[in-house]
């Protein structure tokens, strides 16, 4: 899928339009979806928010859980109800950032050309007749850069949690209609450890603005019920 991301070009992409409809349709095999710490409070009203290890680097990543088995996205099954919060990365899609292979802090804007959201008739233009970028594209570019910064902060947040021993491995087991689903390799914030954190470290978390995200993560575990209900419906 990544092959079809091409750098955005004012001539090649002068006349295409982007449909701004939000959906998980193109991510129907994603059980996990990357989230930024900034959207934790809002996202916690819909998804269980968790940490997983990146298999390449072992580093913790913040994710929303979208399914109960690998490759399952219960938000992309036929007839799935709309969530009450859409992950930020979806709202920028099919525009993405491409890092310069020679300089990882230099970016250009890329377009996932195979996306059905890319078309000639419906939605927003990226360039005007003169080849100048539209206000829509300018806004998207800002959003993408902001999202990138937030992702960096999210990774730093995960590193900090691990350093403070605030993460713990958690197995989840969900029973639906007599069938049992086991989820492994997931990590959550250790509430006990958080309560025992020395004041200095706790204040540091507060000052860096991480407390809302921490409590959002803990609260978000209630959304397992929501996910289970979706699973029950999908199994029906």
């Amino acid at each position: 899928m990544t092959f079809s991301v091409v750098p955005l070009h004012q001539d090649i992409h002068r006349h295409i339009r982007l449909n701004t409809r939000l959906s998980f349709d193109e991510f129907s095999d994603r059980q996990l979806f990357a989230m930024s710490v900034h959207e934790f409070p809002r996202a916690s009203s819909e998804y269980p928010l968790l940490f997983v290890k990146d298999s390449e680097t072992g580093q913790f990543k913040a994710v929303a859980l979208l399914g109960l088995t690998p490759g399952e996205n219960l938000y992309a099954v036929p007839g799935a109800a709309k969530p009450n919060y859409w992950p930020q990365a979806l709202s920028n899609y099919p525009l993405v950032l491409i890092a310069d292979p020679n300089n990882q802090s230099q970016f250009s804007i890329g377009l996932q050309t195979t996306s059905p959201l890319v078309n000639d008739t419906e939605g927003e233009l990226l360039f005007d007749e003169q080849g100048q970028e539209t206000a829509f594209l300018t806004q998207k570019k800002q959003n993408l850069l902001k999202a990138y910064e937030q992702q960096q902060i999210t990774d730093a947040f995960a590193v900090l949690l691990a350093e403070l021993n605030l993460l713990q491995a958690q197995k989840f087991s969900v029973d639906i209609k007599g069938q049992s689903f086991e989820l492994n390799g997931l990590y959550i914030i250790n509430e006990q450890q958080l309560l025992q954190l020395p004041a200095e470290q706790f204040n540091d978390l507060r000052q860096r603005g991480f407390l809302p995200a921490i409590y959002a993560q803990l609260n978000s575990l209630h959304q397992f019920n929501r996910l289970a209900a979706r699973k029950a419906q999908a199994m029906a």
């Binding site: 298999s55 072992g58 580093q59 691990a162």
Partner: protein, 516 residues
């Protein structure tokens, strides 16, 4: 009652710093009410620094001491070790195929079903013993690491130990001991050891710090054994009638390229008068030939090693090390305790050096006497147990030589002379000719090598246990065959998950491992 509040460790090699860490951790050296541990390191005498192999118990020690596995891997050029591969310890096959076998760190699971008799009956076909009872040997042969980046520090799919740079390891332990555990570090030279009337050590005299007294003195001065040997006159019991190897030529070999694969195991290759160790660290290889000076000359030994290295170290000088094989008659004498080379040494065939020093340091920390009056009884107990540990290690090392069918030199033939073999080993082998080795044959908790280790070596070297007439005892053949298949299958499954060893080390260096 006179409480014990001061310990002086003399010697700053790996053994000295390991002892310092264990004692300081257990005895709260960092706190005012704890026992003060001081380590006196010579500014002029270099450490031997060739002990590069470990066994999995070191993982528990590092974790217990609070050392991060990531720091350890990054700072000590560490690689992971899943096995010792023995090469050429038996004659080559009729078609010239070199004999090799793995002594794996994943033990065969004997709790539900011991597969050994079924393997002996041929139910696993041509499969080697190690491959019949574990998937780890196949992983080793495929060059794969025992863990992934998803595993926390000190965890993996398979049991593993480390290869390490001993000099860098001592440095890491120094920092940990002094910064985290409250050990006092002095640089100085022992000029004289002052003994009390009763034979105990009263103090050591140094030009730099004057007279240093303590309640307990720990001798980590290496082969020179300044305290236990020179000052306390505890005799050394030589074991070269059993263990013939007494010299080593060592050389650090650079990699041909930074992409060269690193074996995830130690390679021990038998040669005419000893064997060659080959240990791949992340930055270089550590190699050396340990040999018996009675059976070969230094010149010939150099030839043998250079031939093995195939030109990889032709320009590099070899380092000669003379080894005193054996152990002290006592390891704890009055208030002096020997740890490290001063305690004893046998050839490093099964990475016993660090292993025993670590185990005895921990034992000492656990048994540490609160006051003077407790010392004599503890000393007696410590002496008994440590001696037993050494005797058992010698049995196990000798096993490798005794089982060999090599007859290319007097060295190998003489090694099979029963007069050179400990009676305890001969008795075990006699029993195992018609009966499977059993846990009852390994009754002491402090045995360093246990049933599982013996199984790998015995059956890796073609030892024959004759089970004829005992078939009625082994009725789980179908289940055993299923297990043989399972290990093969599990290997294939893991193969797709695991990284080549060098790649895993590179990623650990770059990203670090998580604590959970």
């Amino acid at each position: 009652m006179k409480m014990i509040k001061q310990v002086l460790i003399v010697g700053g090699g790996t053994a000295g710093w390991l002892a310092a860490c264990h004692l300081a951790k257990k005895l709260q050296s960092g706190s005012a009410s704890g026992v003060q541990i001081t380590l006196l390191e010579s500014a002029t005498i270099p450490t031997i620094g060739v002990g590069e192999g470990t066994v999995p118990a070191i993982r528990q020690s590092l974790q217990y001491l609070g050392i991060s596995e990531t720091d350890f891997i990054r700072e000590c050029d560490v690689t992971l070790k899943q096995s010792i591969q023995f090469v050429d310890w038996m004659k080559p096959a009729a078609d010239g195929t070199v004999h090799r076998y793995h002594h794996l760190f994943d033990y065969p699971d004997l709790s539900s079903l011991d597969l050994t008799p079924y393997w002996l009956q041929g139910l696993a076909g041509d499969c080697s013993y190690a491959d019949a009872v574990s998937w780890q040997g196949r992983l080793c042969d495929a060059g794969l690491a025992p863990k992934t980046m998803l595993h926390a520090e000190f965890n993996g799919h398979c049991n593993y130990a480390y290869h390490l740079d001993a000099v860098k390891f001592a440095r890491l332990l120094t920092r940990h001991a002094t910064e985290k555990l409250g050990v006092k570090h002095l640089l100085g030279t022992v000029q004289q050891v002052e003994c009390a009337q009763n034979g105990a050590i009263a103090a050591v005299l140094t030009p730099e710090h004057g007279r240093i007294s303590a309640d307990i003195f720990i001798d980590c001065t290496g082969f020179s054994a300044l305290l236990i040997g020179e000052a306390c006159k505890v005799p050394f019991i030589a074991k070269n009638d059993v263990m013939f190897v007494d010299s080593a030529l060592a050389v650090q070999v650079p990699y041909a390229s930074s992409e060269q694969a690193i074996p995830c195991y130690t390679i021990a290759t038998a040669r005419e008068a000893g064997w060659i160790w080959d240990i791949g660290l992340s930055a270089r290889r550590g190699t050396g030939y340990v040999y018996a000076s009675r059976y070969t000359s230094d010149e010939r030994a150099e030839q043998v090693l250079r031939q093995y290295l195939q030109g990889a170290a032709d320009q590099l000088p070899l380092r000669k090390i003379d080894m005193k094989v054996g152990y002290r008659e006592k390891f704890w004498h009055h208030n002096c305790i020997a740890l490290g080379l001063s305690q004893g040494f046998v050839e490093p065939l099964e990475a016993t050096g660090l292993l025993i020093y670590d185990a005895t340091a921990r034992m000492l920390a656990d048994l540490f006497p609160p006051h003077q009056a407790a010392m004599p009884m503890l000393a007696e107990r410590f002496n008994q147990r440590v001696r037993l540990a050494w005797d058992k290690v010698i049995d196990f090392i000798k096993l490798h030589y005794y089982l060999s069918d090599r007859d290319d030199s007097a060295f190998w033939r003489d090694n099979r002379d029963p007069a050179s073999v400990p009676a305890s080993l001969l008795a075990n082998l006699e029993q195992w000719r018609y009966q499977l080795p059993s846990p009852y044959d390994f009754h002491s908790k402090l045995e360093v090598f246990n049933l599982e280790n013996y199984l790998y070596v015995l059956y890796g070297m073609g030892f024959h246990t004759d089970l004829a007439g005992q078939e009625y005892r082994f009725g789980a053949g179908a289940q055993a065959q299923q297990m043989f298949g399972y290990y093969q299958h599990k290997f294939q499954q893991l193969q797709s998950e695991l990284l080549p060893h060098r790649e895993l080390i590179r990623r650990v260096q770059q990203y670090g491992l998580q604590k959970i």
